[in-house]
């Protein structure tokens, strides 16, 4: 290997916080060759983003202590002056971040933000020429009608388009290194596949050395040449792609690979049970008025979020509901639970109609059907103790009071793998996985028959995800629960579901047994969804690329 383009040696980053010293990065070393894609893989708080941002000086602050070395073609960056760093940032090392919505400034046109980057480094380029360059770059990342899109505001572009524009901005100054920090995490799988393809092409055609930071081993297998596995601020494993995937040395790498839910591996056998319909949804419709008319709402101004959906959930089974963002999954859940008023259609629970029931009429039924939300950070009131949160349904439904409520809440905590001593703690004292356990305990408090789980593991790291999924399975077995399990990740859905319904643009386009939907999909949308899922298997990924399946 020739001299590396970027060379990081024994990088250490500590932050002084109110809670004490946080050792975010504890001795990271790696080399990046001029044409390769290096993936840095790790779960949250592994230090992968801090590592990348420190290289270009974005973590510098009075509270940060940075040690070690990061050289770009021999030039030390960690001790470089601010003026020198400014010449590197954007021009020689460009970055792309996770959420293209929040990463663009919402008040400026996309083109202007690209022009700003160009002009920051090349003062001699006038606005007109910079704008032409911006259009050229937008074309290079395959944005259709670039000449028109250059004047769009970020919110006027779709998520995938925004991330392309972000990449265009990063490329405008022809950097030598591109650092992409979870560039596809906020995107749907089909869009993710396109962005990954774009990154691969740019790397090949422009000799753009790329550092790809991700938590998703599927993404790594699709694009990386070499892999660096990080855990708690340290590199636990590094090597060529195939070595890391097929002969991992570090136990952590093995556990990470083991936690992946692969579509092409048969999920655990699910026990057969006596079944009776619990929830039957027929022709359910939910419209939202876009604009209120002066006197009455006009039909033209509404958006149909749920379009004549029919499905059923039987007792003791899990129906997986899969679909991309904006497909109407969450709206469907809320409409089924009567948290939103259905526009038309029928929802029968244990044989009786619940669509259109008043709040008061729904009250006793709320015991039977509970919901677990996606974001365990946002869905627990930060000012309440865990015990209060878990015991609240008991209080609201008048089931138990005083000592009895406390006892039951503690029992529930124990049931979801927390300890009864956690009763008096606050949500911020818990990790994401623990908080999701609290959410599950709260849903279980009233011994419901149906739990609607709306992306319950999407915000969790893979190793934690496996634990939460196991817990859900155990509880189902033990209590005979039924789940309506909603997720955008078809791998997760396959792993937990008896049957799967695929939702697209408000409609259920396909429904069938988990095996049938995943292995013999009938609807073209299901097929494209499955084809877009990155396979955490480098050989398979290469084979798929070579076969160039026309998806």
């Amino acid at each position: 290997m020739s001299a590396p383009l970027l060379s990081v040696r024994d990088l250490r980053v500590d932050f002084a916080t109110e809670g004490g010293l946080v050792q975010a990065v504890r001795g990271v070393s790696f080399d990046l060759a001029a044409t390769e894609v290096l993936a840095i893989v790790g779960e949250s708080a592994s230090g992968k983003s801090v590592t990348a941002q420190t290289i270009v000086g974005l973590t510098r602050s009075p509270n940060a202590r940075i040690e070690g070395s990061a050289r770009l073609e021999g030039t030390e960056l960690l001790t470089a002056g601010e003026a020198e760093l400014l010449r590197v940032r954007g021009a020689r090392i460009a970055m792309v971040f996770q959420d293209p919505m929040t990463s663009f400034n919402p008040v400026y046109r996309v083109g202007r933000q690209i022009v700003e980057a160009v002009r920051a480094h090349r003062g001699e380029v006038d606005d007109r020429a910079a704008r032409e360059l911006a259009i050229e770059m937008l074309e290079a990342v395959e944005i259709p009608e670039a000449r028109r899109r250059v004047d769009s505001y970020p919110h006027e572009l779709s998520g995938g388009m925004r991330q392309r524009a972000m990449i265009a901005m990063a490329l405008a100054l022809e950097p030598e290194v591109l650092i992409a920090d979870e560039p596809t995490t906020a995107l749907d799988v089909t869009i993710q596949a396109q962005i990954l393809e774009l990154l691969r092409r740019l790397n090949r055609e422009r000799d753009l050395a790329t550092v790809l930071i991700t938590h998703d081993l599927g993404v790594v297998a699709e694009v990386a040449d070499r892999v660096l596995v990080m855990h708690e601020g340290r590199v636990v494993e590094s090597g060529d792609l195939d070595d890391v995937f097929y002969s991992p040395k570090a136990p952590y790498t093995r556990s990470l690979l083991g936690a992946v839910l692969r579509l092409d591996q048969p999920p655990p056998q699910r026990p057969a049970r006596q079944r009776a319909p619990l929830l039957e949804v027929t022709d359910l419709v939910k419209d939202f008025p876009l604009r209120r008319g002066a006197l009455r709402d006009r039909d033209a101004d509404r958006v149909r979020a749920v379009d004549r959906v029919s499905l059923r959930v039987e007792s003791g089974e899990t129906l997986g509901l899969v679909g991309e963002s904006g497909s109407g999954k969450s709206t469907l859940c809320r409409t089924i639970l009567q948290l939103l008023q259905p526009s038309s259609g029928s929802v029968r629970f244990e044989g009786s109609e619940i669509a259109g029931l008043s709040r008061r009429q729904m009250q006793p039924l709320r015991r039977e059907m509970q919901i677990v939300f996606q974001d365990p950070y946002a869905s627990l009131n930060p000012r309440k103790r865990i015990g209060q949160i878990v015991g609240e349904p008991l209080r609201l439904q008048g089931v138990a009071a005083g000592e009895e409520r406390r006892r039951q809440a503690q029992e529930l905590l124990a049931r979801v793998g927390l300890s009864p001593e956690h009763y008096d703690r606050y949500p911020h004292e818990f990790s994401g996985g623990q908080r999701q356990r609290v959410g599950i305990a709260r849903a279980l408090a009233l011994r419901p028959k149906l739990i609607v789980a709306d992306e319950p593991v999407s915000a969790l790291d893979v190793s934690i995800r496996a634990q939460v999924l196991d817990l859900l399975a155990e509880l189902q077995e033990e209590m005979g629960l039924s789940y309506l399990f909603v997720a955008h990740d078809i791998g997760v859905v396959r792993h937990v579901s008896d049957r799967i319904a695929v939702m697209h643009k408000g409609k259920i386009v396909e429904e069938g047994s988990a095996e049938q939907v995943c292995e013999r999909p009938l609807h073209p949308y299901t097929r494209s969804l499955l084809a877009a899922v990155p396979v955490p298997d480098p050989r398979e990924a290469r084979a798929r690329r070579a076969g160039a399946s026309p998806v």
């Binding site: 601010e82 971040f97 008040v107």
Partner: protein
């Protein structure tokens, strides 16, 4: 846009109507309110009072009286019951002083408020920030009723540094105009300077954590460019709302105390005098004048907002 303008215009009419009814109703229920007796003067006889009631229409039913008054408002013929001077003329006469006071104070409070807020945010957590915080909290806690007389006493009466009051028209002598207004401007602006600097500081501190600021840094903008183009620019959006409403309320009457203390003979002082005399027509006139500005600036704020934040489109409900 046309729809938006039309709806806002309709809203404005409704608001002004409601306010006029409320003002009128308040006077109708004040027990000691007897305009006829006031007009008839000190040496009134019951006959004279009855005569006045007849000619001025005070014996009409209340709705009729209200309509009569509104007609006068719209034709600009409303006259005071106590001085019998034309109300719109009086407001017009007071307007230069009031505008001078309010616009000048607004320029001062925006300039210093934003400057101090910016400096505070840039040095957040450090000594400069703490000193500025103390300063602005001090400013916020300084009511005009205390500050204006204190300024007048210590800086004008005791030390002769500034004139003790009065208004000199700008066209007469610009220097003297400003000299007479320095203390009123300062007294009115101090509270807003403190308040605006706090708001801007917290907006900016929050904006500095935004992803797009990180992007701006990552593309190689200097710290100054990042602060001005991305942090400050986006933090100013909520300030626009505040400013529109505050400026309108100052113009519409919140400057009464300052005007009265420094004897500026503006619209506010006219309002204060009329309230002391329980003189309905000028109060009605000044109230509608103020309400008009509040509603107008509210609309301007919304238009400015849509211009400053492209995600907001006029005429659509926020989603």
């Amino acid at each position: 846009m046309a729809r938006f303008a039309l709806r806002r215009l309709g809203g404005m009419v409704l608001v002004l109507f409601a306010i006029s009814v409320i003002v009128f109703a308040i006077f109708a229920v004040i027990p000691s309110y007897d305009p006829a007796a006031a007009i008839a003067g000190k040496n009134r006889t019951p006959e004279l009072v009855a005569n006045v009631e007849e000619t001025w229409g005070f014996d009409d039913p209340l709705p009729v009286q209200y309509l009569t008054m509104m007609k006068l408002v719209f034709t600009g013929e409303l006259i005071s019951y106590s001085s019998e001077l034309d109300v719109s003329e009086q407001i017009w006469e007071g307007l230069p002083a009031t505008l001078s006071l309010c616009i000048g104070a607004a320029v001062i409070w925006m300039f210093f408020g934003l400057l101090l807020g910016y400096l505070s945010a840039v040095h957040a957590g450090r000594l400069a920030d703490r000193l500025l915080t103390i300063l602005s909290v001090g400013g916020i806690s300084m009511p005009v009723v205390l500050l204006a007389p204190a300024c007048l006493y210590f800086l004008a009466i005791e030390t002769d540094l500034f004139p003790t009051g009065g208004y000199v028209p700008l066209s007469e002598d610009p220097l003297d105009w400003a000299y007479h207004l320095v203390l009123p401007w300062a007294s009115l602006a101090v509270l807003f300077v403190g308040f605006y600097s706090r708001v801007l500081r917290s907006n900016m501190v929050e904006a500095m954590e935004e992803d797009y600021v990180r992007t701006a840094r990552a593309k190689g903008l200097s710290e100054g460019q990042v602060r001005v183009r991305h942090v400050l620019r986006n933090s100013l959006i909520p300030i626009v709302t505040l400013f529109g409403l505050d400026f309108a309320s100052v113009l519409g009457g919140a400057a009464i105390i300052t005007e009265a203390v420094f004897n500026l003979q503006g619209v506010g002082q006219y309002a204060a005098d009329s309230i002391a005399n329980l003189d309905l027509p000028p109060i009605m006139g000044v109230t509608l004048f103020g309400a008009f500005f509040v509603v107008l600036f509210n609309t301007l704020v919304d238009i400015a907002y849509a211009y400053l934040d492209p995600r907001i489109r006029l005429g659509e409900s926020a989603r």
